[in-house]
Symmetry: C2
Subunit: 456 residues, 2 copies
């Protein structure tokens, strides 16, 4: 059975790359965050290599209170993902386009419309990475003094997904007759008004976009907390996960897929794609040198600032960087799973604060592999075959070099071992990921389940 | 002085065209609303003809309560404008890209980001048509039972503009050093946190997009009510106006431009571009025939539904279509200037309900000219030279044929008379429209003015 499984690949492409100091790399274009040409070339390159999707992270805010600490970060300004992916849809033909958009500070009607529109523009290649906001400074851009509490964010996210999918089902697939002769543009009985009234949202509908090529854009998620896993089991079709070890990955994989049956879903209808940060060299020494070159470019202030952000924005300036993190950190309301990941990494390996920021400066809590193509593929294959992953979201250390390395050195090795296909399976992101197209009316499942929850 | 003025041209391109029955025209692609190829071809065609801009209207909702009446409308589903224009930015180089987005049911942070992002993607060609929502059914998609009252919508719109422009000034133009050597990405003192706290919004900032090529995307407006004109005089750089006669147009032009001095603005820094619906024939008879062909395609139910929407959604089903509109119509809370326009048209010309819907089925209250290229240019020239317009927003009856007619027949005549340039003046929309680039900090004018208003 493992023989016929093919792994999926995403290209997760922040402007200059994932490493904290990527923008300082001699080959990096430090203007990448506002360069469409940069992204166009990346997208075309990833498409030629038959990547399933491009993946863009997002935040609707920026910490402005410590400009000095921030001033050494290369990722402070960048395109907004939906506008960027829409532009990329016009210069690509097959690669999926996945944008992160938060459910915490958005309205489901706007979001449903924009993703349906992108799905039409791209001929069925849109994906939505559904997240809840994990940073406090987003709140202050949206009429709030304080961040929305974690549990409430997930409650809102679930209802958000229910409304969005309901809106995507506003029209049956064959509602539009466009019959010039009779003058009937659509069949009235194939229009479905949502009339949603819930805890967080009251949205009548219908959507003013026709049902899109994929029925629904693919729903991706990333949360690893309890409510995050539950929401994913109920609603996600792909997960961007973060695990250091195969053991953790296999447990997570089994856990989330095991929760799907109670929602009437097949385990195979959710693809788990952990992040991997690969530093590729023709020899191990070359790979190590590449990594050290980036590490040496980290300014200590930038390192501390990154660590602080990963721990929910807490102040670390008083700490001795040559000591470990204190066991107890101040309570925050930010992304708990990421915070826990970083703390555990420090504890497990007995790292000092400096060592810790150096460790997360690349993969930022994700899985980091420094080695030859064969080393990297050995590890990917092991995790894939152990059912810790259905594929990987590749996080190049710097761009475009890090992606080029992966495509030129790692992808051929994956193909040699029969792990990765050499052409696209279909025209839509769903077809390539091996996900079913939701039949019209599928959103009703989420609605019924909400009614069931409410009645409990 | 009139000799050196050149008129500006916008191409206002709803899917199949402006005429109510456009989608039924034999040459129309009835799938245009979801066809990127259709829009790509239109944009390229308009750019070759050196149009200043493409203009897209919008509504974040759709009347779902009368599916039968709606089912004969060809414009019920269409791309969302910001995603569509982003995609078009990748296949064009010079034409401006103006999207309508409402201030009534949006958050300024999202909007500021998306337009700044589009401005970067397009190399300085973005424009925002700032509107307040004019239809009730948008409200019900955004957690409201009822539409926001007219006065409150304008109050919110003004503050919205203040926040958006403030966010566009988050970074000075030269804030980003991107100095690989020192590791300094930006100069901390060139980051400006907005800290806005007002009646409607509390937005801290800063924006996570660098100041865009145009400084600010061009701000367009369309409202013709008292608060609409005042807001335009204070904040707009182009106006999409609707006037039937040169007298009205000249009065409006003088009125709005006359209000600018008190805001410290030059009259020339606001371009007034009335809509014009041209039906072009090589002979007058050919033009008339083209128009009649479209009029004959109007289904009576579609006509009544259109009229009802133009009057704020009131029920007209009980009316005798061969009598005039009643003098007094039910109160509504929708776009008052459009409603007034339609009522006055009916009264002035003594039209029956049927004649009225036939009259608005094309230009929908805008200026309609059916004639030869020379007829059309005579009228445009008269209005332009009388200072009733700085240019025109061309509303093709059907697409692409109506735009092709204008480009092939009318544009050459405009050029022969020295009214329209034969190449772009610059690379950005501002340069082409002849608008100054706002210096960093220009948003402070709006903030000071708000404080002044509050202190009164």
């Amino acid at each position: 059975m493992a023989d016929t499984r093919k792994l999926r690949l995403g290209a997760f492409v922040p402007a200059t790359g994932h490493h904290l100091a990527a923008w300082r790399h001699p080959d990096a274009d430090a203007r990448a965050g506002v360069s469409f040409a940069h992204y166009r070339d990346l997208a075309i390159q990833a498409e030629r290599a038959k990547f399933d999707l491009l993946f863009l992270a997002d935040s609707a805010g920026l910490r402005g209170d410590q400009p000095d600490a921030l001033s050494r970060q290369g990722k402070v300004v960048h395109f907004e993902p939906l506008t960027l992916l829409s532009a990329l849809s016009a210069v690509t033909e097959r690669i999926g386009l996945v944008a992160t958009v938060t459910t915490t500070y958005n309205e489901p009607y706007h979001l449903a419309r924009k993703f349906a529109s992108l799905d039409h523009l791209s001929g069925g290649r849109a994906g939505w990475n559904l997240v809840t906001s994990s940073n406090e400074h987003e709140a202050t851009n949206f009429n709030r003094e304080q961040h929305v509490p974690h549990a409430l964010r997930y409650e809102r996210a679930r209802e958000f997904a229910e409304v969005v999918t309901g809106l995507w089902d506003s029209w049956e697939d064959d509602a539009f007759l466009r019959d010039k002769e009779s003058g009937l543009f659509f069949e009235p009985e194939k229009l479905h008004v949502l009339h949603h009234k819930g805890q967080h949202f009251s949205v009548r509908g219908p959507l003013n976009v026709a049902r899109s090529p994929q029925g629904w854009p693919v729903i991706v998620q990333a949360g690893a907390s309890e409510p995050g896993k539950e929401l994913a089991a109920e609603t996600a079709e792909a997960i961007f996960a973060a695990h250091q070890t195969t053991g953790e990955a296999v447990a997570f994989y089994a856990d989330v897929k095991g929760r799907m049956a109670k929602y009437g879903r097949e385990p195979d209808h959710l693809k788990i794609m952990p992040g991997v940060f690969p530093v590729v060299g023709r020899t191990r020494q070359e790979a190590k040198d590449k990594f050290e070159q980036l590490q040496d470019l980290i300014h200590p202030e930038a390192g501390l600032n990154l660590l602080s952000m990963h721990l929910g924005g807490i102040d670390l300036s008083h700490l001795d960087v040559d000591q470990p993190l204190p066991d107890i950190l101040p309570e925050t309301n930010a992304g708990k799973s990421r915070q826990k990941l970083v703390q555990e990494l420090g504890r497990r390996e007995g790292l000092t604060v400096r060592q810790l920021y150096l460790r997360i400066a690349g993969a930022r809590g994700h899985w980091q592999i420094v080695g030859t193509p064969s080393d990297i593929v050995d590890l990917l294959q092991e995790r894939f075959e152990a059912r810790g992953a259905d594929g990987f979201n590749v996080m190049p250390p710097y761009l475009p070099g890090g992606l080029t390395d992966f495509i030129e050195l790692v992808v051929p090795e994956l193909r040699r071992r029969g792990l990765f296909r050499s052409d696209y399976a279909g025209r839509t992101l769903r077809e390539n990921l091996g996900l079913p197209r939701p039949a019209h009316g599928a959103a009703a499942r989420l609605r019924r389940s909400a009614i069931h929850h409410a009645a409990e």
